[in-house]
Structure formats: C-alpha cells, structure tokens
C-alpha cells in the first residue's frame, strides 16, 4: 500500500478545460536537489513542493532528513515521506544529491535517470555548474524549455533568430518521458557561438535533443552545433512550490575550447531573466481551469505532447497508481537517443 497519498491540491477528477500545471504534485521519483559540491557539514535546506529536506554531510556521507540536525526535536512531525523515520532515501550521483520524493519503500536506484554525458562520480570542474531560479512552477518551466521556438524571439540576442533553411521538430514519448528532437539546417550562427566560441561561419546546422523525465522534471539536453560544439546539459527543475522552481544546472562544456567552455554555463544568467519576464506573469494564469483552452500551432507539438503525458501520469497517480509502466525504464541507456553516437 502506498504510504503517501496524492496532494489534496491535485484535481479530484477529470475537469473539462485547459490544463492546470500548477497542481502537479507527482510522487515516487528521485529529485536532484543540490550539486554535490554545494553540500558540506553545514545543513542546507531544499523544498520539494511543501516538503522540507534538510541536507548535510556526516563524516563525508550525505544525509537528507525532515528535521534540522541542530534542532532535531523542535516541533518535529515525521511524515510518510520518510516512513516516520525522519530520513529520506538519498543517492549521490552525476555530481548531484538525489533524494526520493514519495513512498520511501518504493525508492529504487534503478529509477535514477541515465545521464551519459555526466561522470557518475561528478568529477567535473566547478565552472560547469550553476544555480538559477525560475519564477514559475516546474511544469511551466519545463514547457518553456521544450519549446524552442520562443528562443527565436526571447533569446535571439544570445541563441539566435529562427531563420533557417529547414527546421524539423520530432517528438517521441513513453509513459514517463517525452523526448523532443529539433533538427535545423543552415541556421544563423548563435551570437554566443560566434563571438565567444569563435565560429566564423555564417550558418550552422544543429540538432538538439531534449529528454524529459516527467515525474522529476529532470531535463537532459544534448544540442550539437556544426560547425561548433556539443553543449550537453542537465536542467533539473525542482518544484519549490506552485510559484517557483529551482534549477541546479550542469553544462558539460569541458570538450569545448576556452573561453566558450567557461562562458556557456553562465549563459543562464542572461537566459533566465528573459524567460522569467514571460513565465512570471504566465504562471498566475494557470492556477485554475480556464474554459478558454490555449491555442496551438504545429510548433507546439512537443509541448502539447508534454501536457498530455503529464495529465496521463497525474491521472494515474490520482487513481493511486504510482508504479512505473513497463515502457518507462527511467534508467535505460539514452546515449543513442541523445544522438551522441552519431
């Protein structure tokens, strides 16, 4: 029997109208809540939805608990998220602290996502990792990421405009993941790649694969630019309540030349305010079921598929089904899916 019921905030039944991403509170998954390098002996706090996670190292070993270690008895109420034991399941991998959100008895390391471009021991230099914050719920932040056409407008000064010879967007999915592949031929070279990366060609091809784990909002992205570089990155959106999400990103640009390898991981400091300018006012308009459904174009196919798959998953959890489907395999090797072997 599942110990953690679905949130009372989730919609009790299927409601006609548009989606309400604010209300997603999906259980039984690993969330990467912190870069490993950010965790020391001093306790830090992370929040998943409304659930507090206190993290610290005890003789080098990472610990996640419901309570602050310096105030262990202060109004302490242990929840079903830890099985009443106070400590959450925790794994350290890929340079992250992963904690389990849901029924602790269902925690399984096999359910950790496979991230082929990050070393399992997290041995990447510090410049590859940054923390950014989005002023929207995690689902809207993920939808922002899956939708590349907005970049042509919102991020044209960094990523480049949408002018290209051909632009093909494909999407595939399982019950637990959505994968978007965008293949663009002869696109104007992104400003950052031209001015920082030294790519002097006028046009470049690129193929960008984004693999999303629906429960955890873990977004595994593999963009490849030719001429240019691969910019593999991990963007895990931690749902810090209904209004905000936190993203501890890693850009593995170690194979790219300097100064590009140092600058690219910091591009989020430019991108994020641009995204926040739209998702911030957008967020408050998704709290309630709107009888006016959003309009879509064919460029929104990955986004609409993401919405549909999220709804399906939420529906299953509302019905008390928390197990992973046979087609899911969160930990399967995605090297080929990301196009890393091409």
């Amino acid at each position: 029997m599942h110990a953690v019921p679905s949130s009372t905030d989730t919609i009790p039944g299927k409601v006609r109208g548009d989606w309400t991403p604010i209300n997603y509170d999906l259980r039984d998954t690993w969330f990467p809540v912190s870069h490993s390098r950010d965790l020391g002996n001093r306790p830090i706090r992370r929040i998943i939805h409304a659930q507090p996670y206190y993290l610290w190292r005890d003789n080098g070993r990472a610990v996640a608990a419901e309570f602050h270690p310096h105030f262990p008895h202060k109004e302490l109420t242990l929840t079903a998220f830890t099985g009443g034991r106070g400590f959450y399941p925790l794994v350290e991998r890929y340079g992250y602290i992963w904690v389990w959100y849901g029924n602790p008895d269902a925690a399984d390391m096999q359910l950790l996502p496979h991230i082929p471009f990050l070393p399992q021991d997290g041995s990447l230099p510090g410049y590859t990792q940054r923390t950014v914050r989005f002023d929207a719920t995690s689902a809207l932040s993920v939808e922002n990421l899956i939708d590349l056409t907005h970049a042509d407008f919102l991020h044209a000064n960094t990523i480049g405009d949408g002018v290209s010879e051909s632009d093909v967007v494909e999407v595939q999915w399982t019950s637990e993941t959505v994968t978007r592949t965008r293949t663009v031929a002869q696109k104007s070279v992104a400003p950052i790649m031209r001015w920082v990366g030294g790519v002097r060609a006028r046009y470049q091809d690129f193929r960008a694969v984004l693999h999303i784990h629906l429960r955890s909002n873990v977004c595994i992205s593999y963009p490849r630019f030719r001429p240019g570089y691969d910019v593999p990155n991990l963007q895990p959106f931690l749902p810090v309540g209904k209004h905000r999400s936190r993203c501890d990103v890693t850009f593995n640009t170690t194979a790219a030349p300097a100064p590009f390898r140092y600058v690219m991981p910091r591009i989020n400091y430019i991108i994020q305010p641009q995204d926040n300018s739209v998702v911030r006012p957008q967020n408050q308009r998704y709290f309630e079921v709107d009888p006016r459904r959003d309009l879509h174009s064919r460029f929104d196919t990955p986004g609409t598929r993401y919405r549909y798959q999220m709804e399906q998953l939420a529906e299953r959890q509302r019905a008390g089904q928390f197990t992973y489907g046979g087609d899911a395999e969160p930990g399967r090797d995605i090297t080929a899916l990301l196009g890393m072997n091409d």
């Binding site: 056409t149 006012p281 957008q282």
Partner: protein
Amino acid sequence: MTPGWWAMALCEAVKDQVPLAVAFAGEELVLFRNAAGQAFALEDRCPHRRVPLALGRVVESGLQCGYHGWTFDGASGGCTQIPNLHTDERVPARYAARAFAVSEANGFVHVWLGEGAPQGQLPSSDYQPGGREFTGSTIVNMSHDQYLDAMLDGPECLLGFAHVRLTDFFLGDLRSEQGRVVLERGAVWTTQILPSQFVVDYPLIVRTAVPFNGGTVRVDLLSEDELPLVTLMIATGANRRGTTSLCWRGFVHEHVHLRAPLRWRLARLRKQAPFQVNSRIDGTAVAALLQTSSRELRELRQPTLIPVSAVV
C-alpha cells in the same frame, strides 16, 4: 461600473512602438496604435500561452507577442501571423485575441466595455481644452470607490490648486448633472491674511463632478462670479489590489481673473502647473474625513457589473 465608454489612458501615452498595459475594473487590457496613428485595445493575454501581450511590440500587422511572436490585428483581434509557418499554411480564422472598440477624443483614449454596439457620449465630451494643457498619470494607494467618495468629502486630500486653499464649507447639496453628481465648496487664495472663516463671500468656488458609477471626474476652479479659471479632468479606474489608476488633463482658461493675486497671475504667465493631482495620499487625512456628500453618492450608485465578453 456599468457597460459603456471608459477613459483609460492619455492619447500621448498610447504609442506606435511600445504597447501600454492597463488594468481597469478587473479587465487586463493592452493599448497600442498603428503607424497610421489609430489606437486599438486588446485583452492583455496571448491566447497561445497567456503571456501579457504588453510584453510584446507593435509591428506592421498588429501587436506581436514577445514570447513566440504570434501577431494580432488591433481592430479584430485576429491572429495575423505565426512565425515560421510555410507560405501555404494559414492561421485558423478562430485564432484571435479579444478586441475592444476604441474611441479617441479630447486627449483621452476611451475603450468600450460591455455587450452590444458602442453607443452614447464619451465621458470626456465636456472637456474642451484651450491653451496649454497639463497632464499626468499615476496609481494611488486607495480603492476606486473610496477615491470617488473622497473627491466629494475632501478633495483637498487628493489634489490642489496653486495658491488656493480649499474649505470644507459646501455650497449647497449634491445635484445631478449629466450622469455626474456635482458639489461645490468655497475656496480662498492662500495670500489672504485672515483665515477663511472671516470671509463674507468666498472669492473662489471649487466644483467637483463625480460620475455615479465611476469614470471621469471633472474639477473646476471658478471665480466668485462662476467664471472658470482652471478645469481638470481625471479619468479614474479600479486597478489591482484596491488601487486606483488616474490619468488627467487640465488647463487654465483664457479669462484673466482680475482679483487673482499677483503670484497666481505670474505663475499663469510662466505657464506653471495650476494644479497638482496627488500620487501619494495622506492616509491620516483621508481617515479623518467625515462622510458627507459621498453618503448620497453611494445611494445613487447602480450596482451593476461589466459583462466580461468583448464587443468586437
């Protein structure tokens, strides 16, 4: 609030490059004008991903959303462009933002809110400026109803005329004129040595005209012979969180008041602002106002709401 025309912005604030967001009585609107100068109003919500259209920019074919570049015609609200579509692809006809009828007059942009075809007089129709105008806009930390009430009970908390001291001695009761309640009170020049209670007849009159159901307030400074010296029109509207949007225009009449003090005449010659509308309102002063004429205004008010559907 009743269905009708509402003044929402100064004409010069609505531009042909950057759109203007307006919150009015629960509606979120965006105003802009095309290169030909025609003003438009749309709901400030892209029907694609609900992002405020005011974050976008004005282009030749309408207002372009800043998120994905969907573009909407100002008059119909119809989506005229989705970027990157092939030339043989059409945008579905039903793809549209809500559009509202707009009318510009007397320096104000008016928007029709409500069902049916736009009709009736514009709220600024009795404002006919002469000479140099003084304009402004702000949001005050006071609810719309309370602002209108205070305009009757104590306008000195909300605005002031240069070199003039308002009194709270009402010259008669509220009267109804053209959809507004009108109240007059005595006023004196600040150059007067004796306090106002020693005045036999007030040298000035301040006439305040407040619409029954909100909208555009008219304030006139009159001589004792009821010749207008200064006229001020303040368009008001309920903004979010109990605040009130204001935008105003006013001017000094050509008539030179012979008994006006020298400093007032000099200020007039120097084209100094003859009034100020307060952006910051003294809460202590407002709280101390006695409920006088606003009591009658509340009784006259019609408790109707604006239907949410657009008219275009």
